[in-house]
Structures are given as C-alpha cells and as structure tokens.
C-alpha cells in the first residue's frame, strides 16, 4: 500500500461515516412497511438532495472499495504490480459506473 492509496483509503472512510449513518437510518426507516419501488422512488425522484447524497456516496465507495480490494488481493492472492493496479481501476470504474447509473435511475 503506498502513501497515496493509504491516504485515499482513510479519507474516503472518514467522509463516508456520516453517509453510512444516514443510509442505515434510511434503510431501517424504509423497510418497516415493506420495500416497494413506489415508496423508494417517491422519496428520491427529482430530489437534488438525494442525488448529491448518493452521488457522493457512490464516488467515495468506489474509491474505498477498489483500494480495499487491491490490499486484500495483494495479501491473499499471487497478483502483483500491474495486475493489481488494473484490478483496482477496473473494479473502481465498474462500481462508479453502475453506481452513477443507479443514482440516475432513482433520481431522474
């Protein structure tokens, strides 16, 4: 783990603390009466607030998860060097893309 990756990992973690707290609170509130698309989308559709919240969350999570995955693979698999970097970027970009698409799906 290099200094930069370490820093990004810890920073994204710290920034996500309030976002996860909010997400957990939302989940616990929302699932009380059963999950339905109407309920979820009723909250999120057209909301700038939710767009910013989840947009930021997706970005931070993509960075954090991809660096974390890289660390675990560096420790527990034979992958090294370039392969690790490609894995990290590949997974990060995948999450960012799918996440952005999901945010768009529930906001637009």
């Amino acid at each position: 783990m290099t200094l930069r990756l370490y820093l990004l990992q810890r920073l994204t973690a710290a920034l996500m603390v309030p976002l996860i707290a909010g997400h957990l609170a939302t989940i616990i509130y929302a699932t009380h009466h059963g999950l339905s698309a109407t309920d979820i989308l009723g909250r999120t559709r057209g909301s700038l607030g939710w767009a910013l919240f989840y947009g930021l969350f997706v970005l931070l999570a993509s960075v954090h998860a991809s660096i974390g995955l890289r660390s675990v693979c560096a420790d527990w698999t034979p992958l090294r060097g370039r392969a690790l970097t490609l894995l990290m970027w590949g997974f990060g970009l995948l999450l960012a893309f799918l996440g952005a698409r999901a945010v768009y799906a529930v906001i637009a």
Binding site: M1, T2, L3, L5, Y6, L7, S71, A74, D75, W76
Partner: protein, 239 residues
C-alpha cells in the same frame, strides 16, 4: 500433576517434521528448560538458541503451541495442554535447523527502515540536553526497549503476507529515531518508511503489541509514522 510431559519439537528445515520426546516434569520448569533437557539427555543433535536464560536478551524466542514467545520466560504449566507442548522455530523466518532461524532479513529490514542513528553533532560539541519529560522523549522511551527478539515479526500477518513489509520492529525503531532530537536523518528515514512495504502496509491488527515481551506497542509507533509521513506529504516534503 503428571510426572512426564510429551514435547513435540520441530526437527529439520522447512520440510522437516515434529518429533515427540518425553521430558520429566519439574516445578517452575520453563519451556527453555525442556528444550535444554532434550538436547542434553535425549538428543544432542537438537539445535536451538539461547543466551541469558533470564528474559533480557531475546535469543530464545520460539513458537510455543502456535504463539511466538520467549521460552525462558514461559512456564510449562502455563502452556501445557493434556500433558503436551508443541515447540517450533519462530515464524516468518527461514529455518536454519530445528529451532534456529535465519534472522538476516529481520536485520536487513532494520537497515532499510533507516533504524540507525544519524548524528547531527560531533564529540567536540556540547552534549545535547534532552528533557526526559518532553513529549518527543516520552514517545521514544515507550518504544526504545526493543531487543530485536523477533517475536513481533513472527506474530505479524502483514509480514507473513507481504515479503516487502519492513515489519513492526524495524518501523518501531525508526519511530524512536524520528522522535530523537539529536538525530539528523529524518528526511531519508521518512522516505524509507513511506516507501512500498513501509508503515502504510500495516493493517493495525495489533498482533505485535499483543505478543511483545517488552510490552512495547509497535502498532502505536507505526501509527505515529503514518501520521508523520502524511503530514510530510501534505507539506510537500515527501512525494
């Protein structure tokens, strides 16, 4: 209490095997006493290291029932299970023979981490007045008693999984020098501990802290290095 304990001792190199010996059980017996008994009375070909036998040199460190520890300070009654004890060489190091390991990489990483004092003055200068209660010296004193026994290195998962990782002892020593007001080598030292395999490879498992026979806390020292290197990075002093 039974009269005899069955001791399984690793014999050979990495591709060796455990061999069982029957050793008379005595009051206040340590694991080092047991190994010594085997070598003197049962099998003179057994190779192992020790020196002071009173817990000040760190030479007798071995793996006892899966844990790295000083055998001279481990009473048999504390570790024996159903009359059995298992003794192996220290982990994460190449085995020379039986219970003796090759500690070269441990000391090489010490050098790589710049765990060496770099003087800022000469014998012709006045002696530097270091206040023992100063914040920096307090940090040094917490970590300075390391006697390079290798127990933390053997206990560390990151050492096991990452051959480049400098390890808790080397980084702990680097931290004592980072806080030493007399030392002039911090630029190179911070760069060394911030490189690949440096302090950022520590995942804060705290196995080192839990196993150190000197009650040193390398995790805390490494956390200090993390903060110091990040600070240097923000100030442009580190790439």
């Amino acid at each position: 209490m039974r009269d005899v304990i069955t001791v399984s001792i690793w014999r050979g190199r990495e591709d060796g095997r455990y061999v069982a010996y029957q050793v008379p059980r005595l009051d206040s017996q340590t694991v080092l006493d047991v190994v010594t008994y085997v070598q003197r009375h049962l099998d003179p070909t057994l190779s192992y290291r020790f020196a002071c036998r009173v817990g000040v040199c760190g030479s007798c460190a071995m793996t006892v029932n899966g844990r790295p520890r000083w055998t001279c300070r481990t009473h048999v009654e504390k570790v024996v299970q159903d009359g059995r004890v298992e003794i192996a060489p220290l982990g994460n190091l190449p085995v020379v023979k039986d219970l003796a390991t090759d500690m070269s990489q441990f000391f090489e990483k010490w050098q790589q981490a710049k765990g060496v004092f770099t003087p800022s003055q000469t014998r012709h200068d006045k002696v530097a007045p270091i206040k023992p209660a100063s914040a920096a010296r307090v940090e040094v004193d917490k970590a300075i008693e390391c006697i390079n026994c290798g127990v933390c290195y053997a206990a560390c998962d990151s050492v096991r999984w990452n051959p480049d990782y400098l390890g808790p002892a080397a980084l702990n020593r680097a931290w004592t020098l980072v806080n030493d007001e007399r030392d002039a080598g911090n630029k190179a030292r911070l760069a060394a501990v911030a490189a690949a395999g440096g302090c950022h490879s520590c995942h804060t498992h705290q196995s080192c802290e839990q196993h150190c026979p000197q009650a040193i806390n390398p995790t805390a020292s490494i956390a200090g290095l993390k903060r110091r290197t990040i600070g240097a990075y923000w100030l442009g002093a580190l790439k």
